[in-house]
Subunit: 199 residues, 2 copies
Amino acid sequence: MDQDKDTTTSKAETQDEILLAALKLFVDQGYFNTSLTDIAQTAGIQSTSALYQYFISKQTIAAKLYGSILDSLNISVDDIRRRNQKPSEQLRGIVDLLFKLTDEAPEIMQFLLLVKIKDILPEQKPLLETAPFVKIIKIIQTGIKAGEIRNLDPVLVFSHFFGIINHTLVLVLNGALDKKADAYQSQTWLAAWHTIAKK
Amino acid sequence: MDQDKDTTTSKAETQDEILLAALKLFVDQGYFNTSLTDIAQTAGIQSTSALYQYFISKQTIAAKLYGSILDSLNISVDDIRRRNQKPSEQLRGIVDLLFKLTDEAPEIMQFLLLVKIKDILPEQKPLLETAPFVKIIKIIQTGIKAGEIRNLDPVLVFSHFFGIINHTLVLVLNGALDKKADAYQSQTWLAAWHTIAKK
DNA sequence: GTCTATACGCCGATAGAC
DNA sequence: GTCTATCGGCGTATAGAC
Protein backbone atom coordinates (compact mmCIF):
# COMPACT_ATOMS: atom_id res chain seq x y z
CA MET A 1 0.00 0.00 0.00
CA ASP A 2 1.31 3.43 -0.82
CA GLN A 3 0.24 5.47 2.13
CA ASP A 4 -0.42 3.76 5.45
CA LYS A 5 -0.30 6.54 7.97
CA ASP A 6 0.14 10.24 7.47
CA THR A 7 -0.14 13.04 9.94
CA THR A 8 -0.88 15.72 7.35
CA THR A 9 -3.99 15.87 5.19
CA SER A 10 -4.23 12.74 3.13
CA LYS A 11 -4.86 12.60 -0.58
CA ALA A 12 -8.42 11.39 -0.04
CA GLU A 13 -9.15 14.31 2.28
CA THR A 14 -8.00 16.93 -0.20
CA GLN A 15 -10.03 15.18 -2.87
CA ASP A 16 -13.08 15.52 -0.69
CA GLU A 17 -12.36 19.19 -0.12
CA ILE A 18 -12.16 19.73 -3.84
CA LEU A 19 -15.41 17.87 -4.40
CA LEU A 20 -17.11 19.88 -1.69
CA ALA A 21 -15.90 23.16 -3.18
CA ALA A 22 -17.00 22.10 -6.64
CA LEU A 23 -20.42 21.06 -5.37
CA LYS A 24 -20.95 24.41 -3.75
CA LEU A 25 -19.86 26.36 -6.81
CA PHE A 26 -21.70 24.22 -9.33
CA VAL A 27 -25.04 24.62 -7.60
CA ASP A 28 -24.37 28.27 -6.86
CA GLN A 29 -23.17 29.57 -10.20
CA GLY A 30 -23.60 26.63 -12.53
CA TYR A 31 -20.93 24.30 -13.87
CA PHE A 32 -20.09 26.42 -16.90
CA ASN A 33 -19.78 29.60 -14.91
CA THR A 34 -17.21 28.17 -12.54
CA SER A 35 -13.60 27.93 -13.58
CA LEU A 36 -10.94 25.65 -12.19
CA THR A 37 -9.50 28.76 -10.60
CA ASP A 38 -12.74 29.21 -8.66
CA ILE A 39 -12.62 25.62 -7.49
CA ALA A 40 -8.98 25.82 -6.45
CA GLN A 41 -9.55 29.00 -4.46
CA THR A 42 -12.67 27.73 -2.72
CA ALA A 43 -10.90 24.51 -1.84
CA GLY A 44 -8.04 26.50 -0.32
CA ILE A 45 -5.52 25.68 -3.02
CA GLN A 46 -3.41 28.41 -4.56
CA SER A 47 -3.17 27.22 -8.09
CA THR A 48 -5.23 25.26 -10.57
CA SER A 49 -2.22 23.10 -11.32
CA ALA A 50 -2.53 21.40 -7.96
CA LEU A 51 -5.99 20.19 -8.92
CA TYR A 52 -4.49 17.97 -11.57
CA GLN A 53 -2.87 15.90 -8.85
CA TYR A 54 -6.35 14.75 -7.89
CA PHE A 55 -8.48 14.94 -11.01
CA ILE A 56 -7.46 14.76 -14.62
CA SER A 57 -10.06 17.26 -15.81
CA LYS A 58 -12.94 19.45 -14.79
CA GLN A 59 -15.40 16.93 -16.18
CA THR A 60 -14.06 14.15 -13.99
CA ILE A 61 -14.66 16.32 -10.95
CA ALA A 62 -18.31 16.55 -11.92
CA ALA A 63 -18.44 12.84 -12.72
CA LYS A 64 -16.96 11.86 -9.37
CA LEU A 65 -19.40 14.20 -7.61
CA TYR A 66 -22.35 12.74 -9.44
CA GLY A 67 -21.19 9.21 -8.74
CA SER A 68 -20.66 9.83 -5.05
CA ILE A 69 -24.07 11.37 -4.58
CA LEU A 70 -25.80 8.54 -6.41
CA ASP A 71 -23.80 5.96 -4.47
CA SER A 72 -24.72 7.34 -1.11
CA LEU A 73 -28.33 7.70 -2.18
CA ASN A 74 -28.24 4.11 -3.31
CA ILE A 75 -26.91 2.94 0.05
CA SER A 76 -29.61 4.88 1.85
CA VAL A 77 -32.31 3.35 -0.32
CA ASP A 78 -30.99 -0.14 0.40
CA ASP A 79 -31.04 0.65 4.06
CA ILE A 80 -34.61 1.92 3.93
CA ARG A 81 -35.73 -1.14 2.04
CA ARG A 82 -34.10 -3.41 4.57
CA ARG A 83 -35.69 -1.72 7.54
CA ASN A 84 -39.23 -1.45 6.20
CA GLN A 85 -41.48 -4.12 4.78
CA LYS A 86 -44.42 -2.38 3.18
CA PRO A 87 -43.89 -0.31 0.03
CA SER A 88 -45.77 2.56 1.67
CA GLU A 89 -43.30 2.53 4.55
CA GLN A 90 -40.37 2.36 2.19
CA LEU A 91 -41.61 5.35 0.22
CA ARG A 92 -42.20 7.16 3.47
CA GLY A 93 -38.61 6.46 4.43
CA ILE A 94 -37.35 7.86 1.15
CA VAL A 95 -39.44 10.99 1.53
CA ASP A 96 -38.10 11.46 5.06
CA LEU A 97 -34.59 11.20 3.68
CA LEU A 98 -35.17 13.73 0.90
CA PHE A 99 -36.70 16.30 3.23
CA LYS A 100 -33.90 15.80 5.72
CA LEU A 101 -31.28 16.22 3.03
CA THR A 102 -32.98 19.39 1.81
CA ASP A 103 -32.59 20.98 5.23
CA GLU A 104 -29.25 19.52 6.21
CA ALA A 105 -27.38 19.21 2.93
CA PRO A 106 -29.20 21.51 0.51
CA GLU A 107 -26.33 21.52 -2.00
CA ILE A 108 -26.72 17.80 -2.51
CA MET A 109 -30.41 18.16 -3.23
CA GLN A 110 -29.79 21.11 -5.51
CA PHE A 111 -27.30 19.06 -7.43
CA LEU A 112 -29.73 16.17 -7.74
CA LEU A 113 -32.79 18.22 -8.59
CA LEU A 114 -31.45 21.23 -10.47
CA VAL A 115 -28.20 20.46 -12.24
CA LYS A 116 -28.65 19.42 -15.87
CA ILE A 117 -26.23 16.53 -15.83
CA LYS A 118 -26.70 15.77 -19.52
CA ASP A 119 -25.18 19.12 -20.48
CA ILE A 120 -22.13 18.40 -18.36
CA LEU A 121 -21.68 14.67 -18.79
CA PRO A 122 -23.36 13.64 -22.03
CA GLU A 123 -22.32 10.02 -21.59
CA GLN A 124 -24.14 9.53 -18.31
CA LYS A 125 -27.25 7.42 -17.97
CA PRO A 126 -30.48 9.29 -17.34
CA LEU A 127 -31.25 9.56 -13.65
CA LEU A 128 -34.17 7.17 -13.88
CA GLU A 129 -31.86 4.38 -15.04
CA THR A 130 -29.41 4.70 -12.17
CA ALA A 131 -29.45 2.14 -9.37
CA PRO A 132 -31.33 4.05 -6.67
CA PHE A 133 -34.10 5.13 -9.02
CA VAL A 134 -34.49 1.68 -10.52
CA LYS A 135 -35.01 0.47 -6.98
CA ILE A 136 -37.62 3.10 -6.28
CA ILE A 137 -39.55 2.05 -9.37
CA LYS A 138 -39.32 -1.53 -8.06
CA ILE A 139 -40.82 -0.45 -4.76
CA ILE A 140 -43.71 1.07 -6.67
CA GLN A 141 -44.21 -2.09 -8.72
CA THR A 142 -44.28 -4.16 -5.54
CA GLY A 143 -46.79 -1.75 -4.06
CA ILE A 144 -49.03 -2.14 -7.07
CA LYS A 145 -48.91 -5.94 -6.86
CA ALA A 146 -49.56 -5.82 -3.13
CA GLY A 147 -52.65 -3.70 -3.75
CA GLU A 148 -51.35 -0.71 -1.81
CA ILE A 149 -50.87 1.48 -4.87
CA ARG A 150 -53.19 2.20 -7.80
CA ASN A 151 -52.67 0.11 -10.85
CA LEU A 152 -51.14 2.53 -13.35
CA ASP A 153 -47.89 2.58 -15.32
CA PRO A 154 -45.25 2.53 -12.55
CA VAL A 155 -43.33 5.35 -14.20
CA LEU A 156 -46.46 7.48 -14.20
CA VAL A 157 -46.99 6.69 -10.53
CA PHE A 158 -43.39 7.66 -9.90
CA SER A 159 -43.97 10.85 -11.80
CA HIS A 160 -47.04 11.87 -9.84
CA PHE A 161 -45.56 10.96 -6.50
CA PHE A 162 -42.13 12.52 -6.89
CA GLY A 163 -43.54 15.37 -8.90
CA ILE A 164 -45.21 16.61 -5.75
CA ILE A 165 -42.25 15.85 -3.52
CA ASN A 166 -39.50 17.22 -5.75
CA HIS A 167 -41.34 20.34 -6.86
CA THR A 168 -41.99 21.26 -3.26
CA LEU A 169 -38.35 20.70 -2.36
CA VAL A 170 -37.24 22.82 -5.31
CA LEU A 171 -39.40 25.70 -4.12
CA VAL A 172 -37.88 25.38 -0.67
CA LEU A 173 -34.39 25.35 -2.16
CA ASN A 174 -35.21 28.50 -4.21
CA GLY A 175 -36.70 30.30 -1.29
CA ALA A 176 -40.11 30.51 -2.97
CA LEU A 177 -41.41 28.61 0.04
CA ASP A 178 -39.86 30.39 2.96
CA LYS A 179 -39.85 27.86 5.77
CA LYS A 180 -37.63 24.84 6.16
CA ALA A 181 -38.57 21.75 4.20
CA ASP A 182 -39.47 20.11 7.49
CA ALA A 183 -42.44 22.46 7.86
CA TYR A 184 -44.04 21.15 4.67
CA GLN A 185 -43.16 17.51 5.04
CA SER A 186 -46.30 16.00 6.50
CA GLN A 187 -48.71 17.87 4.25
CA THR A 188 -46.64 17.06 1.21
CA TRP A 189 -46.26 13.41 2.10
CA LEU A 190 -50.00 13.13 2.59
CA ALA A 191 -50.73 14.79 -0.74
CA ALA A 192 -48.22 12.63 -2.58
CA TRP A 193 -49.24 9.37 -0.98
CA HIS A 194 -52.92 10.08 -1.38
CA THR A 195 -52.34 10.65 -5.09
CA ILE A 196 -51.03 7.15 -5.69
CA ALA A 197 -52.67 5.07 -2.94
CA LYS A 198 -55.43 2.69 -3.77
CA LYS A 199 -58.46 3.62 -1.77
CA MET B 1 -41.42 54.07 -40.28
CA ASP B 2 -38.28 52.57 -41.65
CA GLN B 3 -39.51 49.58 -43.60
CA ASP B 4 -43.04 49.60 -44.92
CA LYS B 5 -43.03 46.87 -47.55
CA ASP B 6 -40.34 44.46 -48.55
CA THR B 7 -40.49 41.49 -50.84
CA THR B 8 -37.42 39.74 -49.41
CA THR B 9 -37.17 38.36 -45.90
CA SER B 10 -37.71 41.16 -43.45
CA LYS B 11 -35.58 41.91 -40.48
CA ALA B 12 -38.20 40.56 -38.10
CA GLU B 13 -38.35 37.28 -40.00
CA THR B 14 -34.62 36.67 -39.81
CA GLN B 15 -34.75 37.53 -36.13
CA ASP B 16 -37.36 34.86 -35.65
CA GLU B 17 -35.26 32.35 -37.55
CA ILE B 18 -32.34 33.09 -35.29
CA LEU B 19 -34.48 32.73 -32.20
CA LEU B 20 -35.87 29.45 -33.45
CA ALA B 21 -32.40 28.09 -34.17
CA ALA B 22 -31.18 29.22 -30.77
CA LEU B 23 -34.16 27.63 -29.04
CA LYS B 24 -33.50 24.31 -30.70
CA LEU B 25 -29.81 24.34 -29.90
CA PHE B 26 -30.18 25.58 -26.33
CA VAL B 27 -32.59 22.82 -25.36
CA ASP B 28 -30.63 20.24 -27.31
CA GLN B 29 -27.08 20.91 -26.21
CA GLY B 30 -27.43 23.54 -23.52
CA TYR B 31 -26.73 27.25 -23.76
CA PHE B 32 -23.07 26.99 -22.84
CA ASN B 33 -22.39 24.19 -25.29
CA THR B 34 -23.70 26.15 -28.26
CA SER B 35 -21.54 28.74 -29.93
CA LEU B 36 -22.67 31.65 -32.04
CA THR B 37 -21.27 29.71 -34.98
CA ASP B 38 -23.73 26.91 -34.23
CA ILE B 39 -26.59 29.37 -34.11
CA ALA B 40 -25.59 31.09 -37.33
CA GLN B 41 -25.30 27.78 -39.21
CA THR B 42 -28.59 26.43 -37.92
CA ALA B 43 -30.30 29.67 -38.82
CA GLY B 44 -28.90 29.43 -42.34
CA ILE B 45 -26.44 32.28 -41.97
CA GLN B 46 -22.85 31.89 -43.09
CA SER B 47 -21.07 33.97 -40.54
CA THR B 48 -21.47 34.89 -36.89
CA SER B 49 -20.95 38.51 -37.78
CA ALA B 50 -24.35 38.68 -39.39
CA LEU B 51 -25.93 37.80 -36.06
CA TYR B 52 -24.80 41.10 -34.63
CA GLN B 53 -27.14 42.88 -37.02
CA TYR B 54 -30.01 41.43 -35.03
CA PHE B 55 -28.71 40.89 -31.52
CA ILE B 56 -25.96 42.64 -29.69
CA SER B 57 -24.81 39.55 -27.82
CA LYS B 58 -25.47 35.88 -27.19
CA GLN B 59 -27.11 36.72 -23.88
CA THR B 60 -29.63 39.01 -25.51
CA ILE B 61 -30.67 36.16 -27.79
CA ALA B 62 -31.48 34.10 -24.73
CA ALA B 63 -33.18 37.04 -23.07
CA LYS B 64 -35.38 37.73 -26.08
CA LEU B 65 -36.25 34.06 -26.30
CA TYR B 66 -37.19 33.90 -22.65
CA GLY B 67 -39.23 37.08 -22.93
CA SER B 68 -41.12 35.90 -26.00
CA ILE B 69 -42.03 32.59 -24.45
CA LEU B 70 -43.24 34.23 -21.25
CA ASP B 71 -45.18 36.84 -23.23
CA SER B 72 -47.03 34.31 -25.29
CA LEU B 73 -47.71 32.20 -22.21
CA ASN B 74 -49.02 35.29 -20.52
CA ILE B 75 -51.38 36.03 -23.39
CA SER B 76 -52.65 32.47 -23.35
CA VAL B 77 -53.27 32.64 -19.61
CA ASP B 78 -55.23 35.86 -20.04
CA ASP B 79 -57.27 34.22 -22.75
CA ILE B 80 -58.01 31.20 -20.60
CA ARG B 81 -59.05 33.38 -17.68
CA ARG B 82 -61.37 35.35 -19.91
CA ARG B 83 -63.07 32.32 -21.33
CA ASN B 84 -63.60 30.41 -18.09
CA GLN B 85 -65.20 31.50 -14.87
CA LYS B 86 -64.41 28.88 -12.27
CA PRO B 87 -60.83 28.50 -11.03
CA SER B 88 -61.07 24.76 -11.67
CA GLU B 89 -61.94 25.45 -15.30
CA GLN B 90 -59.15 27.96 -15.62
CA LEU B 91 -56.61 25.50 -14.25
CA ARG B 92 -57.98 22.88 -16.58
CA GLY B 93 -57.43 25.25 -19.48
CA ILE B 94 -53.84 25.84 -18.45
CA VAL B 95 -53.19 22.12 -18.17
CA ASP B 96 -54.69 21.59 -21.61
CA LEU B 97 -52.36 24.23 -22.97
CA LEU B 98 -49.24 22.75 -21.36
CA PHE B 99 -49.97 19.25 -22.63
CA LYS B 100 -50.71 20.58 -26.09
CA LEU B 101 -47.48 22.56 -26.14
CA THR B 102 -45.53 19.49 -25.03
CA ASP B 103 -46.72 17.56 -28.06
CA GLU B 104 -46.76 20.37 -30.59
CA ALA B 105 -43.91 22.62 -29.52
CA PRO B 106 -41.72 20.48 -27.28
CA GLU B 107 -38.78 22.86 -27.49
CA ILE B 108 -40.79 25.58 -25.85
CA MET B 109 -41.73 23.34 -22.98
CA GLN B 110 -38.18 22.09 -22.65
CA PHE B 111 -37.00 25.65 -22.45
CA LEU B 112 -39.57 26.50 -19.80
CA LEU B 113 -39.13 23.37 -17.71
CA LEU B 114 -35.51 22.41 -18.15
CA VAL B 115 -33.32 25.39 -18.92
CA LYS B 116 -31.68 26.91 -15.85
CA ILE B 117 -32.37 30.52 -16.70
CA LYS B 118 -30.54 31.83 -13.64
CA ASP B 119 -27.23 30.48 -14.94
CA ILE B 120 -27.73 32.23 -18.26
CA LEU B 121 -29.44 35.46 -17.23
CA PRO B 122 -28.62 36.12 -13.60
CA GLU B 123 -30.59 39.36 -13.60
CA GLN B 124 -33.89 37.75 -14.50
CA LYS B 125 -36.74 37.42 -12.06
CA PRO B 126 -37.48 33.94 -10.80
CA LEU B 127 -40.17 32.24 -12.89
CA LEU B 128 -42.71 32.40 -10.11
CA GLU B 129 -42.55 36.19 -10.08
CA THR B 130 -43.22 36.60 -13.81
CA ALA B 131 -46.63 37.75 -15.01
CA PRO B 132 -48.16 34.44 -16.10
CA PHE B 133 -47.16 32.64 -12.93
CA VAL B 134 -48.35 35.43 -10.69
CA LYS B 135 -51.69 35.08 -12.44
CA ILE B 136 -51.76 31.35 -11.87
CA ILE B 137 -51.16 31.87 -8.17
CA LYS B 138 -54.04 34.35 -8.23
CA ILE B 139 -56.31 31.74 -9.79
CA ILE B 140 -55.41 29.42 -6.94
CA GLN B 141 -56.12 32.09 -4.35
CA THR B 142 -59.50 32.74 -5.90
CA GLY B 143 -60.21 29.03 -5.88
CA ILE B 144 -59.40 28.84 -2.19
CA LYS B 145 -61.73 31.73 -1.38
CA ALA B 146 -64.46 30.22 -3.53
CA GLY B 147 -64.18 26.96 -1.61
CA GLU B 148 -63.13 24.92 -4.63
CA ILE B 149 -59.56 24.40 -3.46
CA ARG B 150 -58.20 23.27 -0.11
CA ASN B 151 -57.16 26.03 2.22
CA LEU B 152 -53.38 25.79 2.24
CA ASP B 153 -50.57 28.20 1.41
CA PRO B 154 -51.28 29.04 -2.27
CA VAL B 155 -47.65 28.48 -3.20
CA LEU B 156 -47.80 25.01 -1.65
CA VAL B 157 -50.96 24.28 -3.61
CA PHE B 158 -49.22 25.50 -6.75
CA SER B 159 -46.29 23.27 -5.93
CA HIS B 160 -48.39 20.13 -5.48
CA PHE B 161 -50.52 20.78 -8.54
CA PHE B 162 -47.80 21.74 -11.00
CA GLY B 163 -45.39 19.29 -9.44
CA ILE B 164 -47.51 16.50 -10.82
CA ILE B 165 -48.15 18.21 -14.13
CA ASN B 166 -44.62 19.40 -14.84
CA HIS B 167 -42.84 16.27 -13.69
CA THR B 168 -45.01 14.19 -15.97
CA LEU B 169 -44.33 16.50 -18.89
CA VAL B 170 -40.60 16.36 -18.19
CA LEU B 171 -40.66 12.58 -18.34
CA VAL B 172 -42.50 12.75 -21.65
CA LEU B 173 -39.96 15.24 -22.97
CA ASN B 174 -37.08 12.95 -21.88
CA GLY B 175 -38.65 9.89 -23.36
CA ALA B 176 -38.90 8.18 -19.97
CA LEU B 177 -42.63 8.03 -20.63
CA ASP B 178 -42.83 6.78 -24.16
CA LYS B 179 -46.22 7.91 -25.40
CA LYS B 180 -47.29 11.39 -26.35
CA ALA B 181 -48.22 13.75 -23.53
CA ASP B 182 -51.80 13.53 -24.71
CA ALA B 183 -51.96 9.89 -23.61
CA TYR B 184 -51.30 10.84 -19.99
CA GLN B 185 -53.34 14.00 -19.84
CA SER B 186 -56.61 12.90 -18.32
CA GLN B 187 -55.04 10.69 -15.65
CA THR B 188 -52.55 13.37 -14.75
CA TRP B 189 -55.14 16.11 -14.61
CA LEU B 190 -57.30 14.00 -12.34
CA ALA B 191 -54.40 13.23 -10.03
CA ALA B 192 -53.32 16.86 -9.87
CA TRP B 193 -56.79 18.29 -9.39
CA HIS B 194 -57.74 15.69 -6.83
CA THR B 195 -54.65 16.64 -4.84
CA ILE B 196 -55.73 20.23 -4.36
CA ALA B 197 -59.53 20.07 -4.58
CA LYS B 198 -61.64 20.49 -1.47
CA LYS B 199 -63.76 17.41 -1.03
C1' DG C 1 3.43 18.05 -3.86
C1' DT C 2 2.71 22.82 -4.88
C1' DC C 3 4.34 26.61 -7.19
C1' DT C 4 5.38 29.85 -11.92
C1' DA C 5 5.13 30.24 -16.46
C1' DT C 6 3.18 29.28 -20.49
C1' DA C 7 1.04 26.87 -24.39
C1' DC C 8 -3.07 26.26 -26.89
C1' DG C 9 -7.69 26.54 -28.46
C1' DC C 10 -12.05 28.33 -28.62
C1' DC C 11 -15.32 31.79 -28.53
C1' DG C 12 -17.42 36.24 -28.35
C1' DA C 13 -17.11 40.42 -30.44
C1' DT C 14 -15.25 44.20 -33.74
C1' DA C 15 -13.41 46.47 -37.99
C1' DG C 16 -13.71 47.21 -42.47
C1' DA C 17 -14.11 45.58 -47.44
C1' DC C 18 -17.64 44.64 -50.85
C1' DG D 1 -26.53 43.69 -45.10
C1' DT D 2 -23.36 39.93 -45.30
C1' DC D 3 -18.83 38.68 -45.98
C1' DT D 4 -13.30 38.04 -44.38
C1' DA D 5 -10.10 38.82 -41.22
C1' DT D 6 -8.71 39.49 -36.85
C1' DC D 7 -8.43 40.94 -31.95
C1' DG D 8 -8.58 40.04 -27.16
C1' DG D 9 -9.59 37.28 -23.43
C1' DC D 10 -10.55 33.46 -20.80
C1' DG D 11 -10.11 28.86 -19.39
C1' DT D 12 -8.21 24.29 -19.61
C1' DA D 13 -4.32 21.90 -19.42
C1' DT D 14 0.94 21.06 -19.44
C1' DA D 15 6.03 21.63 -18.47
C1' DG D 16 9.30 22.22 -15.44
C1' DA D 17 11.51 24.60 -11.32
C1' DC D 18 11.70 24.26 -6.34
